[in-house]
Structure formats: C-alpha cells, structure tokens
Amino acid sequence: MMDATDAVLIEKALGGDEQAFAELVRRYQGAVCGVVRRLLGASPDWEDAVQETFLRAFSALGKFDPRYPFGPWVLRIATNYCIDQLRKRKNMKTRLWSELGELEQERLLRDFSGEDARDSTGARDVDGYAEIAQTLVNGLNPKYKAAFVLREVEEREYGEVAKILGTSEVTARVRVSRARSELQKKFNAWRAGRGERGR
C-alpha cells in the first residue's frame, strides 16, 4: 500500500478500500494542515477544516482525473474551503489586535518596520511578531491572503499557486502583488495611529 501510486490508491478507494483512502490522506495531510493552519490562523476549528477538506475530496474522487497530480487538487479544495471560512468571520483581525496593549502595539509596530529589531534584552519578541503578522495577514482579502501564504510562506512556484487557486498564473501573480501592497498599506495605517479596527 505504501508504494502504490496516487492513481492506484484512488482507484482502490473508489472500489471501496478504506485503507487505500487512509493512505492517500496520510500522504497529503501534512500539506493540507500547513495551508489550513496558515490560512485560518490559530483557530480551534482548523482540524475540522482538514477533515472537511478530505471528506469533500472523497465525495468528488470519482470526478478526479488521475492523469493530474492529486496534491494541487486537494490543496485547491482546502484553499477554497478556507477562503469561505475567512469570509464568514471578519472580526478576527480586530479582536487579535485589540487584545494588545497600546504600548505593546507601538513597540511591535516599531520593531516590525525593521527600525529596531531587538528589545532592551536583545531578544526578539517571537510571540508578538507572530501575533502581529497574523493580524496583518488576517486583514487581507481572503483570496489575496491565500495567494500570499502559498507563494511567500510556503514558497510554492507561481504555476503551482495558480493550480491550487484555480486561476491563471498571471492572476496568481497579481494577487500576491496586491497582498504585498495591502500589507504595506495596513501597516502604514496602523503605524500612523489611524488603525483599521473598525473595518
């Protein structure tokens, strides 16, 4: 079972072999977990999202063309599911940002701009960075966010990003570029003290 190709596993799964489908999930659950976790952030329902992705993949398995790779196909299902979830919850960014104190916000923003990357002890505030990074990224349009995470964080080629997003390569490039610009704008807005808490 371990040596079987994806196509063989898919065929067996369609024939009713539960273990074949379990093996297929085992092969791609790492990639799906990564995308889902980075798109949904520190959300308690990310595990449900992973399960939902594979259940959707299973129900559509009959339509899958085994001549194409399974990975981008299942990641596309995961990405679409996450984009839908992100559209449903829009207040996430506000809550995360408002949890920080004013001084803490100021310090993190200053550090984030690269002006002063270390605090008085010389150590970086790793948790704080992660939180503000997540806050800024959560503020992006879900489609831009998905493109940004796949390209910048997961370091995938534009061709693969396009396949996962179900778009052309040019569209994928445009979305990544817009995500970069949006991040800059949001960062500048917060830095200027205007904030985007109400958005």
């Binding site: 379990a22 990564g34 129900s59 960075y129 992660a130 990074a133 990224v137 910048e152």
Partner: protein, 157 residues
C-alpha cells in the same frame, strides 16, 4: 515616503526573477529608497513570523477514512428507501397504474344494472317529483295561485 524609479521591480526581486545586473541595480535602489526598504523589511518580518509558527500535523488519516466510508454506508442505506420511493414514480409503472384504473372504471360503468336507469324508472321518478312539487305548492300558495296552477296543468289529476 514616496515611490521612486525602481520600486516597480520589488515584486520581481522578491520572487527571485531578476537577472544578475537587475538584482544588483535593485539592491542599490534599496539603499536609497526608504519606501522599498520598509516594505521589504515588513514583508520579511511577516513571512518569517508566519514560517516560525509550528504547524502541528495530527494523524487524522484513519479517522477521516472511517468517516468518509461511514458516510457512504449511510448514503447507501438512505438510497435504498429513496429507490423504493422513486420506483413508484417511474413512468412505465405510472402509466401501467393509470391504464389499470381506467379499465376498472370502464368495467364498473358498463356492468349490468350500474350507471344506466331503465326508462320506466325515470318516468316513475319524474311523477314522484311532480307530486312533491304540487304538495309544496298547496302548502305555500294562496287559493288563487293554486287555481292558476291547476288551470296551467301543473297537477297530476
């Protein structure tokens, strides 16, 4: 902090798509352009912070496979009832049922003594109706009206 000439290469620089001389040119641009420098620092920090987050991979394979095949079994069970129900609406069976009903109705209609009254029975029924009408007239109308009824031949006498 405004854009200057060279800022448009930032995306391609980040994507590693500039050739040697272009890359060197953009690095020189970075040294003088605060806008691009800040943007690069921000993106680097966001990306490294997101990458630092450990993504915990839980082995869900067996659970997911069990759920998927459990759903298939549940759907199959439902489908047997659906199939039974749908079979009643299949065109061939529906036409057969309709035809049978028509034949049964025709048989009942043309069966002797059903649906067709004999001629003398009609006549008897009409006479009974006339008698009933006259009795009602006697009870409800005045003498003049009654006499008029008799003259017009409304009675059975």
């Amino acid at each position: 902090m405004d854009k200057t000439h060279g800022c448009e290469l930032l995306d391609r620089y980040r994507d590693g798509e500039l050739d040697g001389s272009q890359r060197e040119g953009f690095k020189r641009h970075l040294a003088v352009c605060e806008y691009c420098r800040t943007r690069m620092a921000l993106l680097d920090n966001v990306v490294s912070a997101l990458r630092r987050e450990t993504v915990q991979t839980v082995d869900l394979a067996d659970r997911i496979a069990r759920r998927a095949f459990g759903q298939v079994a549940a759907l199959a069970a439902d489908a047997s009832w659906d199939g039974l129900l749908a079979s009643w609406f299949r065109p061939r069976l529906a036409f057969l049922a309709f035809g049978t009903t028509l034949v049964l109705c025709a048989l009942l209609w043309f069966a002797p003594g059903v649906g067709q009254a004999k001629e003398y029975e009609y006549e008897k029924l009409l006479n009974q109706a006339d008698a009933a009408n006259l009795a009602e007239t006697l009870l409800t109308s005045s003498d003049t009206e009654f006499a008029l009824t008799l003259v017009q031949g409304g009675g059975v006498w």
